[in-house]
């Protein structure tokens, strides 16, 4: 990582992006939600909360467990799928007047633009968001805020690839020696990959993907899967995926190493919010409160390997600080506009 990138601050990069999400004409956000006894009581009466998310399943269940331990009597049901699937499913359910989702989290920030525009979100500002989150990481109307942050770097299996030989950049992956050795995830399934595909295509060009598609890549669906394929030794290199899954496996002692490509690493901000027609609105608010609490944010950093905007949360020692990584710029508004084109173009090159 070159030092000149050290100045790049995550907040600055994502600032423009999230600022664009806001609607300047709308009313002020509601009073911050506290975990007051009345709210806890009301949540317990509802007894459950349904959380649609694209966080890797075991991690999502860990978050759910932590909530259930803290607020006994409110069960969390995790509905985990790829962000693009979650988006499609919520759209389908809402158009059939099925209101199953309470809290939603997506790795494709563009989804929140659409949901907000359609009036599907409920304004709710958890206490910690108001106190500890940068203003540019929350919707000005209080509809959502940045719950989790991750990157989509390159990864490799250290028993299959020597450190000296490992690729340094995305373009290195086009070397014929990696043919048949790369695994990558799919932008029609994963919001992380859709976001990453947009940023990569914008910064280094679609030719990269066109050439990569000639490398006999193994095409998996979820962004959480490439790292798993590395750890079982199925493929040597992952062209994309999530930094958090790579970190989790690496810290567990699996033979996995992360490469932050020289062109820049795609930055993926995953907002969270609650649905206006939430069947369990109080439990949803309590859960949303919990998601942004320092406790949960530290959990997703320490155990989950993610990054957080919460000012009280500490980065885990031993990981590359975000400031030292050259990041690509987030732009959910552009993703929202180009989503169909991105998917169509991707399918044209990769055939599936």
């Amino acid at each position: 990582m070159s030092k000149s990138y050290a100045k790049t601050s995550l907040a600055a990069i994502a600032a423009t992006a999230l600022a664009m999400l806001g609607n300047p004409a709308s009313a002020a956000p509601p009073e911050p939600t506290k975990a007051a006894p009345q709210l806890i009581e009301a949540a317990k009466k509802e007894g459950k909360v349904v959380w649609y998310t694209s966080v890797d399943l075991p991690m999502a269940e860990k978050i759910a467990k932590a909530f259930e331990v803290k607020y006994p009597g409110v069960a969390v049901r995790v509905e985990r799928s790829g962000a693009e699937r979650v988006f499609q499913r919520i759209g389908q359910e809402y158009s059939s007047k099925i209101y199953a989702a309470d809290a939603v989290n997506s790795s494709d920030a563009a989804h929140f633009i659409v949901w907000k525009r359609d009036g599907w979100l409920m304004a709710d500002v958890p206490e910690d968001v108001a106190k500890y989150f940068p203003k540019d990481q929350q919707d000005p109307d209080g509809m959502f805020a940045a719950f989790r942050v991750t990157l989509s770097p390159i990864g490799y299996n250290t028993t299959l690839v020597k450190k000296e030989e490992a690729p340094k950049s995305f373009k290195d992956l086009l070397d014929p020696k990696w043919s048949g050795k790369i695994v990558k995830a799919h932008p029609s399934y994963s919001g992380t990959i859709l976001t990453a595909t947009y940023q990569t295509a914008r910064d280094i060009g679609w030719e990269y993907f066109e050439k990569l598609s000639q490398q006999k890549v193994m095409q998996v669906q979820s962004a959480t899967d490439p790292s798993k394929k590395l750890s079982v030794g199925e493929r040597a290199i992952s062209a994309d995926g999530t930094e958090y899954n790579l970190l989790q496996l690496k810290e567990k002692g699996e033979p996995i190493e992360i490469v932050y490509p020289t062109e820049g690493t795609p930055l993926v901000v995953g907002p969270s919010g609650i649905m206006k027609n939430a069947p369990n609105p109080n439990a949803a608010k309590l859960f949303n409160h919990f998601l942004f609490s320092v406790e949960c944010q530290q959990l997703i950093v320490d155990v989950g390997g993610m990054r957080s905007f919460h000012s009280q949360v500490k980065e885990k020692p031993g990981r590359t600080p975000l400031k030292q990584i050259k990041l690509m710029k987030e732009d959910p508004a552009a993703v929202e506009k180009q989503v169909e084109e991105i998917k169509a173009r991707y399918t044209k090159y990769f055939k599936v």
């Binding site: 790829g82 699937r85 359910e93 193994m218 899967d225 989503v339 055939k351």
Partner: protein, 574 residues
């Protein structure tokens, strides 16, 4: 005739015979079940977004490689599976049905096991076995030969891989048809040939093969259709390799942004081809009737293989390695190890996946509940429906019984994924908004399973002599009373078999369920597919083993009840 006689009897006067309205109602229900989704499918295929008539949806099917390539791939897969199944199942069918191969019953049970193994589970198990680098078989190969790390013997993520795995779980269809046909060939015919001086080979060529050929052909067609309409296996194995089949293409058209018109247009060719091929199969099997001319025939001749029979057994077991032994081994290893591709050491052993599935994964309980509920409801409703229809058609209760027969058989011609698309289109909009309820899945499962249950019960009815019913009618019972008190008890074993058949078919169904599930209506098959998309092979293996255990328990139970019930039934009629 029965109806006419019964209608003229005075004892029945003053009582209402409900059978006619019941049958008419059933006909209406069946009609709705099938006609509604199919008409929405046709409507969507031939209209644009504004509902105006158009052929535009079909244009890409002929011009766009994104559609023509999956079509060609699907044809290649289907033809190959049909041929592969014939090549494997015909000799095995002959060995089991006509020779003294040892442990023939065990071989049959093992083929039954591959028959009831959900194909998508088999596909995932084969990922564990034959993924080019992490697959267990490839690792053994490298260990044995000292080949370099990136060399592999098998690559399951390939066209041949897809064909192989589909064939593994399709050949039982061909086997059953061929074995049954061979068992029904009268031994006298072959004896006659021998007595007239025909040598063994001559007899086989002139008598046995021609008589078994129609069944083999029909079996090939069934295998072809299975391969063409299967969704799970290609979705699991073809997508990572970078190619689509028609079913995965149809499914991908429902991802955001959904293109229902195109999906409907892609579904219609599958529907039409299925109808045409089933007609062909019917004609081929229909010709078989000449075989039994000459009344009761003797038992088939058993061919003594001598010492060769042990070789024959070995061949059968080697074949069965592929659908049964190896995949089950792979699932067990993946279920109880941290990293399935690592050697089986104490350090690698774990119960973490079991723990995750039963104590952490919040979908497990709901999905299990839904699966069981749907299995029981579909089986009860389906076998009940099949029973009444089979009665109406076997006893020709109403004039239009042929219509009932048609509608009860028609779903066979609708591939599950096509039905899924049709039901989705039909029940996400007024007048029947059922999307998001268990009912829509129930409708799908009952529709899919009805034909098999119906055929089973229809043959059961043929075995029950109508005289008993007539006696009860003469004594004043209405038709429904006669059905309940006389016929139903005699059919008990047939009904139980049909019930279990539907239950097993329902809990393993994926192709339609994948189109219709919502958060609250997930079933185990969908959960497994979901987990596979995230690479959670350990938890899948745990759930898969659980599914297999349940399935085998039901099969065993059915066999036991079926056996004793059939015996009791015989005693009563005899």
């Amino acid at each position: 005739m029965t109806a006419a006689v019964a209608a003229g009897l005075p004892g029945r006067l003053g009582r209402v015979d409900l059978s006619r309205p019941v049958v008419l109602l059933l006909a209406a229900v069946l009609c709705l079940l099938i006609v509604l989704p199919v008409s929405w499918l046709v409507y969507f295929a031939f209209t644009d977004r504004d509902g105006l008539p158009t052929f535009a949806n079909f244009a890409p099917l002929f011009s766009d490689p994104a559609y023509t390539e999956p079509m060609i791939t699907t044809l290649v897969i289907s033809v190959s599976v049909g041929l592969a199944c014939a090549a494997v199942a015909a000799p095995m069918g002959w060995l089991v049905a006509r020779t003294d191969v040892p442990f023939a019953r065990t071989i049959r049970s093992l083929i039954m096991a591959s028959f009831v193994t959900p194909p998508f589970l088999g596909a995932i198990a084969w990922e564990i076995l034959a993924a080019p680098n992490s697959g267990m078989l490839n690792q053994w190969y490298r260990e044995l030969t000292g080949a370099p790390p990136d060399q592999h013997l098998f690559n399951i993520y390939s066209l041949t891989g897809v064909i192989f795995v589909i064939a593994c779980y399709t050949f039982p269809y061909v086997f059953v048809l061929v074995a049954n046909a061979l068992e029904r060939i009268p031994g006298e015919l072959e004896d006659a040939s021998s007595i007239l001086g025909g040598r063994a080979w001559h007899t086989a060529r002139r008598i046995t093969v021609p008589l078994a050929l129609p069944a083999l052909l029909a079996g090939c067609l069934v295998a072809f259709l299975q391969a063409m309409t299967l969704f799970g296996s290609p979705a699991i194995l073809a997508l990572p390799a970078g190619f689509h089949t028609m079913t995965t293409k149809i499914w991908s058209l429902f991802q955001y942004p959904p293109k229902p018109g195109l999906a409907a247009a892609c579904s219609l060719p599958l529907l039409l081809l299925t109808v045409v091929l089933l007609r062909a199969q019917h004609m081929i099997l229909g010709r078989r009737s000449y075989q039994v001319i000459g009344g009761k025939s003797g038992a088939p001749r058993v061919i003594r293989l001598g010492p060769w029979r042990w070789l024959a057994l070995a061949v059968c077991l080697i074949v069965l390695l592929n659908p049964v032994f190896l995949p089950y081994l792979g699932l067990v290893k993946a279920a109880f190890t941290h990293v399935f591709s690592q050697p089986l050491t104490l350090k690698n052993l774990t119960l973490e996946h079991v723990d995750f599935v039963f104590f952490e994964f919040s979908s497990t309980r709901l999905a299990l509940k839904n699966t069981f509920l749907l299995g029981i409801l579909a089986a009860t409703l389906g076998s009940g429906l099949a029973l009444v229809i089979a009665y109406a058609t076997a006893r020709r209760v109403v004039a239009g019984y042929r219509v009932l027969d048609f509608f009860a058989t028609a779903p066979v011609a609708i591939p599950a994924i096509v039905l899924g698309v049709g039901l989705f289109l039909a029940y996400t909009r007024p007048p029947f908004v059922l999307y998001g309820t268990l009912s829509i899945l129930l409708i799908a499962f009952v529709t899919i399973q009805l034909p098999a249950a119906y055929q089973q019960l229809q043959s059961a009815f043929r075995a029950v002599n109508p005289e008993l019913e007539e006696a009860s009618r003469i004594l004043g019972a209405t038709r429904l009373q006669a059905l309940r008190h006389i016929t139903a008890p005699l059919l008990r074993s047939g009904v139980i078999a049909a019930w279990c058949f539907i239950f097993i078919g329902t809990i393993r169904e994926l192709s339609a369920a994948i189109m219709l599930f919502t958060a609250d209506t997930k079933v185990i098959s969908v959960v497994i597919f979901d987990l596979n998309e995230n690479g959670h092979l350990g938890p899948i293996s745990v759930l898969g083993i659980l599914m297999l255990v349940i399935t085998f328990a039901v099969v065993t139970l059915a066999n036991r009840l079926h056996g004793s019930g059939a015996w009791r039934g015989q005693r009563v009629t005899g």
